[in-house]
Symmetry: C2
Subunit: 352 residues, 2 copies
DNA sequence: CATTCCCCTGACAACGTTGTCCAGGGCCTA
DNA sequence: TAGGCCCTGGACAACGTTGTCAGGGGAATG
């Protein structure tokens, strides 16, 4: 049946892309089914006033029988807000970041927003890639745990209105909100604790010097030593990857030689864990204080400088939403206190 | 200059919503700046062929000077695919789910997709809310760690083309892919291990009976006991919340009375942690085997049935992407083996 | 009974992108 | 030199939703 009634294929007639969402029903379909207008469906879906109970019921029925679900992509496109925020962190599998992420999620949820998080794996390039991908998705705000030390790439985004807060480490080369733990003060207190228990030769084993917290903690260590008038031997300090093999080597190294250290300050949770393992196989008792608390550390008697990961996340998220709510003061830096938790390993005296 | 040339405000003239994205530049702006057509910009942005190097350079310059970033919402709307998958889990802060989520993320990344994950907090309603919110964002696929036991609410979504895989626990009342650990076999092996070391009175402390893995592990416990011809006293079995206080009470209860148990099987990582804490303060040595491995368990000498959380996540994600790539076989159930890791606590003999 | 007002509903454009098609110009071939 | 082809670039519609506005009908009021 060659019909001349069918429109003769419009001039620049697009056909649309292929896959579609398995042909999901749209508001238009719902409207047709319910015998109402498109906008009425929109009103029902969004709970807007001005719809007769009877009409609403018909629309609801159509929605259910078709299995309709609003397409948020279209909604976002139209409204300009995604009600979602992004979180770029280092590694979700790290027991430090899990609680932090969860805390952010809870705050987001309280504000009706969804959290999208991604792991940078401590790779600056991947951090940037992720952060920009989140911006392309038009997250309303961004929380970043920096892996890199240059965040100018975020400037256009921030100028375009993406609220941004940095956590755990400050941003590089830009001015922005940042929430962090007092790494310097915590490390200083931890090392002072060891000194107070009689130690004079204390090692510091930490993360790569590229990482701000690692540097700050080292600075705290140096300050505490200096406060006590102690001179640091370069061989006591090891900065680098926190991979178990390297840390193991570093611990063994500071314990070797004619004048081994009598105490170790571990720069973060991963270093602490490996250090504990090595020390467990060591014949001499060595004091240890670690930065970051660890599960079961109480049973193992590990003295730590505890920081509150959840509080970091919560504080950052609250700051972010304050900005999203229109508060527009100067970028500020918030430092959260750390707590020294003595459990035994930090109170071991040096061998007499 | 009152100009009559300006269109006299179109009849039903919409003004558009207010906030917008802080007035971000669009492809149209870039095109105007570069003096090219809209589609040419699109071509450059997407690396499509058919653009002169010179034109491309001009467009790139315009993009950079304007700080343009493609709006993925619009792209998604047009293309029908979001290149993102959703993961609904119980709690990101739980050290079991962190690695699982991370493994899923890596697989997604390898497929060029973004992962959006949310915590259900073990609340069925919240699980549904989250899963449906992800569907509204039109994730291409969904990985769910069930909190509830009825997932029929996902049927319309699956029919509409959302690939769905369940992990760690099977879905309720629908047929779908599922990847889980062998809870039954693992628990049975763990309890058999205790029996082999001479125990006859063994307690089981687990999660709520609403949760599939809890039931399976209990079943494994019963099977092992039956295999050995041992009769279980009801007072040895405690199922309920894994909140520390409750577990603490349960442990104390099975250790009290004239005929206390001599060994405990802990149903998951949280139970194990609390049990270890309680046993550390107990005067009698009590054997313990826990389901799930725990960080530092090696140092504490805790015998566990280890399951590989990362492998669970990886397997599920791979299955998901196979479906997204068009493979369309029957829903299947995959069970991953567990491993008994003897470390001391499970080898403690009963008091003679 | 006429008029006013309000409530409910629907038509329409626009959000920013991509797929399709067409136009124009340059180059090669006959 | 003319014809045809290929390559580049642009116009346009459409994805599914929401904001704006106008129209119709019923109730309330004069």
């Amino acid at each position: 049946m060659a019909d001349s009634t069918r429109p003769p294929t419009p001039p620049g007639g697009p056909r649309g892309p292929e896959p579609r969402y398995g042909n999901r029903p749209t508001m238009k379909d719902v409207a047709a089914r319910a015998g109402v207008g498109l906008k009425t469906v929109s009103r029902v879906v969004n709970g807007e006033p001005g719809v007769t109970p009877d009409t609403e019921r018909r629309v609801q029925e159509a929605i259910e029988s078709l299995g309709f679900r609003r397409n948020d992509s279209a909604r976002v496109l139209r409204k300009g807000r995604t009600a979602s925020i992004g979180l770029v962190l280092e590694d979700l599998a790290d027991p430090f970041y899990g609680p932090l992420s969860r805390a952010v999620e809870e705050v987001a949820r309280a504000h009706g927003a969804l959290l999208i998080n991604g792991s940078s794996a401590e790779d600056p390039e991947r951090e940037q890639e992720l952060a920009l991908a989140l911006c392309a998705r038009r997250v309303d705000g961004l929380i970043v745990i920096p892996a890199g030390d240059d965040h100018r790439y975020l400037e256009p985004e921030m100028k375009a209105g993406v609220a941004t807060v940095f956590v755990d480490r400050p941003p590089g080369r830009i001015d922005a909100d940042v929430v962090l733990s007092d790494s310097f003060g915590g490390a200083r207190a931890g090392v002072a604790h060891l000194i107070a228990h009689g130690h004079r030769r204390i090692a510091f084993i930490g993360d790569q010097p590229r990482i701000h917290t690692a540097v700050e903690r080292l600075r705290g260590y140096r300050a505490a030593m200096e406060d006590a008038g102690l001179v640091i031997d370069d061989s006591w300090v090891a900065l680098g990857s926190t991979a178990p093999e390297r840390v193991q080597e570093a611990v063994k190294s500071v314990l070797a030689g004619p004048e081994p250290v009598t105490a170790i300050f571990a720069g973060n949770n991963r270093v602490t864990v490996t250090a504990v393992r090595v020390l467990a196989g060591h014949d001499q008792r060595v004091a240890l204080v670690g930065f970051d608390d660890i599960e079961l550390a109480d049973l193992l008697g590990i003295t730590v400088i505890a920081q509150d990961a959840a509080a970091l996340g919560r504080t950052a998220a609250e700051r972010l939403f304050r900005r999203l709510d229109g508060v527009n003061d100067e970028p500020a830096q918030v430092a959260l206190e750390t707590v020294l938790v003595p459990r035994g390993s930090g109170e071991i005296p040096p061998p007499s």
